[in-house]
Subunit: 260 residues, 6 copies
Amino acid sequence: MSRDDGRAPDALRKITFVPNIAPHASGSVLVSFGATQVICAVMVEDGVPHWMKQQQVPGGWLTAEYSMLPYSTLSRKPRDSSRGRIDGRSSEIQRLIGRAMRAVVDLRVLGQRTVWIDCDVLQADGGTRTASITGACVACAIAFNKLLATRKLKASPLKKMVAAVSAGVYRNEAILDLCYVEDRDATVDANFVMTEALEFVEIQSSGEEATFSEAQMSDMLALSKKGVKELVELQYQAIRDAEGAAAPDQLADLAKQFSK
Amino acid sequence: MSRDDGRAPDALRKITFVPNIAPHASGSVLVSFGATQVICAVMVEDGVPHWMKQQQVPGGWLTAEYSMLPYSTLSRKPRDSSRGRIDGRSSEIQRLIGRAMRAVVDLRVLGQRTVWIDCDVLQADGGTRTASITGACVACAIAFNKLLATRKLKASPLKKMVAAVSAGVYRNEAILDLCYVEDRDATVDANFVMTEALEFVEIQSSGEEATFSEAQMSDMLALSKKGVKELVELQYQAIRDAEGAAAPDQLADLAKQFSK
Amino acid sequence: MSRDDGRAPDALRKITFVPNIAPHASGSVLVSFGATQVICAVMVEDGVPHWMKQQQVPGGWLTAEYSMLPYSTLSRKPRDSSRGRIDGRSSEIQRLIGRAMRAVVDLRVLGQRTVWIDCDVLQADGGTRTASITGACVACAIAFNKLLATRKLKASPLKKMVAAVSAGVYRNEAILDLCYVEDRDATVDANFVMTEALEFVEIQSSGEEATFSEAQMSDMLALSKKGVKELVELQYQAIRDAEGAAAPDQLADLAKQFSK
Amino acid sequence: MSRDDGRAPDALRKITFVPNIAPHASGSVLVSFGATQVICAVMVEDGVPHWMKQQQVPGGWLTAEYSMLPYSTLSRKPRDSSRGRIDGRSSEIQRLIGRAMRAVVDLRVLGQRTVWIDCDVLQADGGTRTASITGACVACAIAFNKLLATRKLKASPLKKMVAAVSAGVYRNEAILDLCYVEDRDATVDANFVMTEALEFVEIQSSGEEATFSEAQMSDMLALSKKGVKELVELQYQAIRDAEGAAAPDQLADLAKQFSK
Amino acid sequence: MSRDDGRAPDALRKITFVPNIAPHASGSVLVSFGATQVICAVMVEDGVPHWMKQQQVPGGWLTAEYSMLPYSTLSRKPRDSSRGRIDGRSSEIQRLIGRAMRAVVDLRVLGQRTVWIDCDVLQADGGTRTASITGACVACAIAFNKLLATRKLKASPLKKMVAAVSAGVYRNEAILDLCYVEDRDATVDANFVMTEALEFVEIQSSGEEATFSEAQMSDMLALSKKGVKELVELQYQAIRDAEGAAAPDQLADLAKQFSK
Amino acid sequence: MSRDDGRAPDALRKITFVPNIAPHASGSVLVSFGATQVICAVMVEDGVPHWMKQQQVPGGWLTAEYSMLPYSTLSRKPRDSSRGRIDGRSSEIQRLIGRAMRAVVDLRVLGQRTVWIDCDVLQADGGTRTASITGACVACAIAFNKLLATRKLKASPLKKMVAAVSAGVYRNEAILDLCYVEDRDATVDANFVMTEALEFVEIQSSGEEATFSEAQMSDMLALSKKGVKELVELQYQAIRDAEGAAAPDQLADLAKQFSK
């Protein structure tokens, strides 16, 4: 079987990271999984939520918010703020991003601080939650490096890298990193969150008005390990890039020149 | 290892189904997984949601709502209606229940009807989402049987039974059907939704500020198959019981006598 | 005149109390007025609301919440949490329950505690507010007895029992404890809240697109006194029963056996 | 006993009606019960609510909204719109006003129209709900007379006048039409809604952390009849006045002159 | 060109102030710009908002709320509280009123107090925001004078008077103080807020699906200066009137007599 | 006086437009006014709002939404969706953007379509509303050109270009296009919306706890004309650029290379 975009079943889409896209954030990155683009930004605030103070939990807190920009989808997605509440799917995804990051961040090392991770989808073409987690980890690393450089932290709270990738069963074959059309037509859709040591943090696998077998689960699992391994390498590259990254002003200049 | 309640690692808690607990519903059951008790009620309404009419989707619709009664937990849980919105966890669970049931209900056979599944947790001791799915399937079967008996349906839309069970890693061992204390202390917590043919409908597995290995995943998977197999037998028994079930008035009498 | 269910005009429906229906609550009861069934649960929390602290009001607080489960009515009642706010009728009833209970509970004896009373209607067949108040008082008594037994309280804050019953004018005759059909067709609908000494706590009487005379008011008043007198005896019996009551686990077993 | 303001126990406060206070409304009145002042305005719109159309109920609809202006109370009352929802007390009162008016308005005579009654409390000194009902009836009469004059209606939907008054037990004596201070210190607080024929539409009587006897209820009932009888005469006078009433522009002029 | 009501292009409508319309407020006035009538009430509370305390801003705070009563418009305007949120236009106007008043009130002289300004439109005929600001300033002056008289303040926080007026381009001519019909048909609509020294506090000028020239802007500006000059004189007269003003009880009497 | 960034008083910041930043939109641009960056995206949907259908208004509709991304400000700005409602300032700005664009778009030429303009602030450094309007016009032009190219429109609904710029009084001098620090410390802050013919669409000028003179207004007005003239030239250049613009995929590549 060949996929619509010519990829092999076990191939990731083109993955890119543009660091420092949101300069007011402590750390930020524009992550692309093919045409899927997500802005991941990390801001570190002093203090912890009220409930932590009350329960006297030591250390800091980390929370995530996920949102799709109205123009990220083919037909306009109404804003949550206009609807007056966060939709169920967004709420589910932001809870997943938070759990994934808390699995690799040592909140005691963080101290009495709150890490806010914001993931805004600029363009959606499948895999927005896996791109969000993969980008969020890079943005955290950049943010913590900045706090280390300014001596606000003595050690990085990031114990190891975490990344996520989707797999699915499409036309009876297990494939990696589905784009929107593949995702829509797949009979099974799974998301794998793993550390750089390829330990699992979270597995979500769901039959789309269909069921799946243990063998299919195994196939998807194998693909996802390959995918995460590659993603982690790219994450490390992006973090290194961030240190010498261009200021956003230069970027805009460049983009402008290029677009002529 | 022996578990606090003396169960073997692969043993379910005591599972019971009290059918027809909510007589105004088309089908209902009070399901217990040990001390966890959930009222599952199904009401079938004529008509489909507005968006289905607009998009001219054929057949019917099925949706689920999940809520914890304020006195189901050890310290009182404020009502969603007082907070003005559904909390993220409840939203996540009710979406899961809906997906699980839609995997085994043929919406075209249902016709232009909407199936409402309500799951209200009367007592929470771990596994409320798996009990909800397992009970919801029984309530649906009872409701559809009633519609068949009154000739409102010609065939049952329920293609096969679906059930759900949790597994986890607790003190380094895989165990089945965790109670609250085990769930709280487990390093991995997974939920498995399967049909009676032991095909997977949904797998959710999450490290609790920890990670897990492929071997642990396999162990939990094996346990869950054993669990679902037993649950399906009990579900069939409950559906048979429901036909000759006592009216709730008699039940209350009996309960009253017994409590003297 | 004979009533549809054969009752005399001054007869209550069959009244039952199943104590300890919600074991995590301090006190609870499933109260039935005929086919109307309400779960009444009391939880006692340490501390008082913010406004009491600010105004330095001595003693404790007591508040009630009332809700109809979606499957309690013949056609499904949408949840308040889905609508984003409590409906006007529910708000009115829960305010009434709170006032009724505060009339017989000595908040100074309670100490710096908050009593939460939750009334969830499992099945609605008229008189849900009167059943709620009657059940709430039993649940409070059970809860306070438990706090006395564990020496958290030195004296019971419950000064006397309170109970409530409806009366109405139906086919030109005053009748007691209306079921849904009678309530729907009655020209006058009244609710009486009284203490065990038959002192009034609250009277609400309303013509349903009709008016009523002083004589009709007197008739309903006389009926309500008879009704409350009987209810109070049953409440005392239920409180005595609660001490030796079966654990919920046994109850479910029993119900299961019976339903075969 | 003499009351703080020198009134006899069975005396109303000074009652006034300023008609046409809100010229854009079909009918309006500023009603005063002593220092309590309420703007009552009626607007008649074509069409009926969606649910009436769906259920094909014949005739029209009537609904009421009640609100306290922020400066009506001694310390500022935050707006419901700032809090995002209507408070329980306001909701209860506007439901009462609606029921009271629907008891005397023939909705079939009204035709496919909706009557909106708005009651905004300009100054609160006890009895705002009874002033609202008493004023709402005058505003309805004025509005219906206008529709009769312009031949939009052939007969008035107002079958008879309705008025309301409070009574209470204060220092062990039954008194009529309580001001705020009396209401605050009364042990019983009751509201009576009656037609001009002195038939009851609604009775609400509530012990304020206290109870009351049948004899006290009788005393309050007798007082309320006297009060409503007087109110109805004043209502008729106000309706007659409204026909030759000054335009609001002249009123403001006059008020301005007077205040010099 | 002559205007529909015969006014010269540079003429204000009839402007009146009825002081002390809301006696529970510290200061209040019913202001009329022709048929536009707004209740402006000022309440001064001890304490400042939470955010001021946190940021340790010295002095007090001043905030405004604006609302249209449902019967102020020709067809009924639904209440914000029923819609669950403040509409965009109201939010914009109340922010403008607050900024206008903060420009002339010295918050440090006010001390640790919060000034609440409520503007409720009783009747809308164009220019409700300019009438609100003009009336709010009078109400503030009255309120501060009362605090000076009772020695709660040593100096008035009101540094100078502020007033507002609208201007527009209607049938190609600049006109002052537009009524609703003129406002609806004008091609340009502008609002000017000025101090008594004719310094600008705020200018808002907007083409209604049209554009405007610098010359037109100059014309409107000249008109607005003339208008504000006249308004300030009337404001001072109103503040003087307020000291000997009739109690609201007398006002109602008088109005009642007059309306016969 | 020299400004902190060395600009002359009448100089704009560096202005750039990156077209097609959001490929799913009909037209989009990332506009920068110095460090202020706003994504402006236009989506054109078939159909018009319900109220237009009801009132049978001919032609189409255009509406705008404005939001600040949480990481656009120096300390994180909570999302409106988390707060459950749009804040007053955002509501004011999106209403302004809508009015500005409706002044230059012929809604009848648009046909039965709705134009959604979304402005999301990626980075805020003063002037986000003027950048939004200036970018929105470019995004509209691109979108309409696309509809012309695909023959969905026969003529462009965009009658002329519109642009906006801020001016203010800072250290007693009128300056153009204020950055955040200048805006914070300015005594007067004004926004000017003009067409390419330098006709005014909207002027908003506000003293920041201060007042301003007619002479200062004239100075700011002159500056704003110069600014808009320059902006319109850059807008036309951006629209021309958009036709040969790079796909976003290439852009990301380039940016990635550059950042090494």
